[in-house]
Symmetry: C2
Subunit: 206 residues, 2 copies
Amino acid sequence: MGINERKERERDVLQKSILTAAREVFLEKGFDQTSIRSIAQKIEYSPTTIYLYYKDKDAILFALHSEGFLLLGSKMEVLNLVENPFERIKAMGRVYIQFAMDHPDYYDLMFVQKSPMNKLDEDHEVWKEGVSTFDGLKYSVQQCMDQGYLPFADVEAGSYMLWATLHGMCNLYDRGRCKVLDEEKSEQIVDLAFTEFLKLLDAFGR
Amino acid sequence: MGINERKERERDVLQKSILTAAREVFLEKGFDQTSIRSIAQKIEYSPTTIYLYYKDKDAILFALHSEGFLLLGSKMEVLNLVENPFERIKAMGRVYIQFAMDHPDYYDLMFVQKSPMNKLDEDHEVWKEGVSTFDGLKYSVQQCMDQGYLPFADVEAGSYMLWATLHGMCNLYDRGRCKVLDEEKSEQIVDLAFTEFLKLLDAFGR
DNA sequence: TTTGAAAACTTAACAGTGTTAAGTATATTT
DNA sequence: AAATATACTTAACACTGTTAAGTTTTCAAA
């Protein structure tokens, strides 16, 4: 009999509607305002029901974090069209920054907040989303190195450095640290700094 | 009569002992565990007394953030001994990273947490600590540019980029995002990435 | 068709958070 | 000594994540 199957389906539906509600609250009100109770209210269930479908709040935030990586991945797809690895790296940077600007909450969850990482630590799991994204970067960096564009000593160290530069620009901006600049300049500083970085990279290879 | 003077002194003493208690809790238990109640318990006053000396929690965190900048500033002093501006920039990076590693909680408060910035927004004040530190960087970058080491198009954009790279490396590390690497490599990744960055900078000028 | 167990969900509560209004001592002035 | 101003505390509000215990619903077996 298909009763168990139906129940499993129903479990799935509710689990997904919890995640949908969480996403809505998260995108509308932000990370801080995403509480178990606010999610529960949205789906019209009691707060404790959520714990029957997710171990704890971190598990929900981790699920949202994964969604963020899917979104970033979809934005990265166009990069496959760029044949030249050096141009691809540059374009990758633009896509990355654009993502961070368009979806600051997702970005924060993916690369700044500690909450989603807690789940990994507990379960001794690997950070698949991060690893595969970083692998994508490494792949192009290695190609650059092979073709003499970016003569790093170490692919991983070089890739991490590239990543860190973009992350730093986005994070400092998001956390209001561009207050060190005029208001006018603050707004464009990420673009300006990225341009300088590109010049730096251009000078590095060849 | 010196009664008012004495009272003012006493107010000062208590205000400072609140800050000392806050610092102790902050450094011992970390940002998340630094609550008004835990500070109050340490000085053996009721939690509400704290509000007679600080407007709110953000004001206390801002005060701690300022302390962090004093500490960073003291570490930066040795840089005055470095005559060559390019070497000074490099050394500055090392000092910055060392500070972030030695005092991750202070670093977080100074460059990542939104709490201390709230005070500025409310009072429409400038971020003196940040501005003067950034000015120090800009000064050396400008010298580099004048001497052909770092041919940036824009001092501020170039300085922001340098800052962002270091910040990104430290912040990704602190927030556990170096999980994209082997555990072994994770531990040394900031140093390795900084080395690659230095190579990049070397190739830029001259 | 009724009984009993299992599953799904809720209520109430714990322990914690920042913050405020109202009340109580203490110190100073009149 | 009485009135006032200052310093501090108590109690409470409105939240937070999370859990134990209780209730309702669903389903299977007698």
